[in-house]
């Protein structure tokens, strides 16, 4: 596989999208730290958030290899318009059902994507996927266990889960919207084709959500397919996340 300039640009964009999704979701979920529904779950969910931040670090590292961009600069000194995450991960944390379902929908998407990345013709991606995959197996075990218990739990837990799913379902589809140049990468065996990943994901989540007593919402049109488009929630999140780093950009950590 030869990394032509077109492929290199497309790959950097693809990896930045992966990294931004992981980072923003991790930051959102860190808002549950100290506020989880029960101590054990507070720790479990914080662990997952930390893992996702670790995955973001890995993907930013690969972006750096391709573009020379400093990961810390990418994280702390980009404004919302330059972030490439999907809108789903920037939405406020909502109630516990919402945050848990969002993590589940994200974990299943990662799990659908990783087998392709593990076989990438670009070796750094294959190595990164191999490292990330065991953690995702556990995340999914945890979130799918909770989806089932809350979906089949009480009337209230089922209602909250269904409300969360109704809100999240259209947004979740944006995770699979093709990026510019993604077809070039898929054709070169660098990443999986978005349509194949989407189909695999849809199969898995439809089965599990249905088994968990939840209805798949009819509305599956995401508010946007462009990763440069964000809600105002991202501005607020970045203001919080970047505050300290921007106080003194030259500080050594």
């Amino acid at each position: 596989m030869i990394l032509t300039p077109e492929r290199q640009q497309a790959l950097a964009d693809y990896l930045l999208a992966l990294a931004d999704d992981e980072l923003i979701l991790a930051h959102r979920n860190s808002e549950w730290t100290g506020h989880g529904p029960i101590l054990e779950e507070d720790i479990a969910f914080t662990n997952i958030a930390l893992d996702e931040m670790g995955h973001a670090k890995i993907w930013y590292g690969l972006v750096h290899k391709l573009t020379g961009d400093d990961p810390d600069r990418l994280v702390f000194f980009r404004d919302a318009a330059d972030y490439r995450n999907v809108q789903m991960v920037e939405l406020p944390k909502g109630d516990w059902a919402f945050s848990l379902l969002r993590q589940y929908l994200f974990d299943t998407a990662e799990t659908a994507r990783l087998p392709y990345l593990a076989q990438s013709s670009y070796p750094p991606i294959a190595a990164a996927a191999a490292k990330i995959r065991p953690e995702e197996i556990y995340h999914l075990r945890h979130t799918q266990s909770w989806v089932k218990r809350l979906g089949l739990g009480t009337d209230e837990s089922n209602r909250r889960m269904q409300n969360g799913l109704n809100d999240l379902w259209p947004y979740a589809q944006q995770m699979f919207a093709p990026l510019p140049g993604e077809d070039l990468l898929a054709a070169a065996g660098i990443v999986g084709a978005g349509t194949a990943v989407h189909a695999a994901w849809l199969n898995v989540v439809t089965q599990h959500l249905t088994d968990s007593g939840l209805q798949i919402p009819a509305n599956d049109q995401p508010p946007t397919n462009g990763r440069a488009n964000h809600t105002s929630h991202l501005d607020a999140l970045l203001a919080d996340m970047q505050l300290v780093a921007r106080l003194d950009p030259k500080a050594k950590w």
Partner: protein
């Protein structure tokens, strides 16, 4: 104080295949599978981890040497023994030394009731002169499997930042205290 949360599970951790499972604490969980996951997240964050067991706390029958001295007739309260014997896991504690304060797995006995299992356990596992005994039926133990190691425990090897020895806080705190004139 009443515990109004989910049922409690005792957590037993095994560092290496040749080491015994040791009781390292408890978790709350709605069922055994979630207890195993919670045990992993609460107690399995350090790199040393090979296997975890969880047991509903209400399934553990325990006796201390002190209790038995105060109530020598404890074994007389036994219920009639019926049915077939089932295997029980036996855990003991034999030391107050700081590194060995855990109740740890020592073996198994077969019995028809918890009381007779306890009597057999006390008679069988005398090494180290134990003063606390726990038993539970084997069927009450939920375990992680060999193929869980990769996703549940192995990733911790790359997360050394979780270990306190990665942070020079002790020396830094001493310095701060010294400079501020505290002892």
């Amino acid at each position: 104080m009443n515990d109004t949360q989910w049922p409690r599970y005792e957590v037993f951790q095994q560092d290496k295949p040749d080491k015994p499972h040791r009781n390292i604490g408890t978790v709350h969980a709605p069922d055994a599978e979630m207890a195993l996951q919670n045990a992993r997240d609460v107690y399995g964050r350090r790199p040393e981890n090979y296997n975890l067991w969880v047991v509903p706390s209400e399934q553990i029958f325990s006796k201390t040497a002190e209790e038995m001295t105060l109530d020598p007739g404890w074994a007389n309260e036994t219920v009639p023994e019926e049915g077939t014997a089932v295997p029980f896991a036996v855990f003991t504690k034999s030391s107050y030394r700081r590194a060995m304060t855990h109740v740890q797995y020592v073996g198994e006995v077969a019995a028809k009731t918890a009381v007779s299992a306890m009597q057999k356990a006390i008679a069988t596992y005398t090494e180290g002169d134990p003063f606390i005994w726990w038993i539970c039926p084997l069927y009450a133990i939920t375990r992680t499997q060999e193929n869980d190691i990769e996703s549940m425990f192995a990733p911790a090897h790359d997360k050394l930042y979780r270990l306190p020895n990665q942070y020079r806080t002790v020396a830094a705190m001493r310095k701060i205290k010294r400079e501020s004139g505290e002892q």
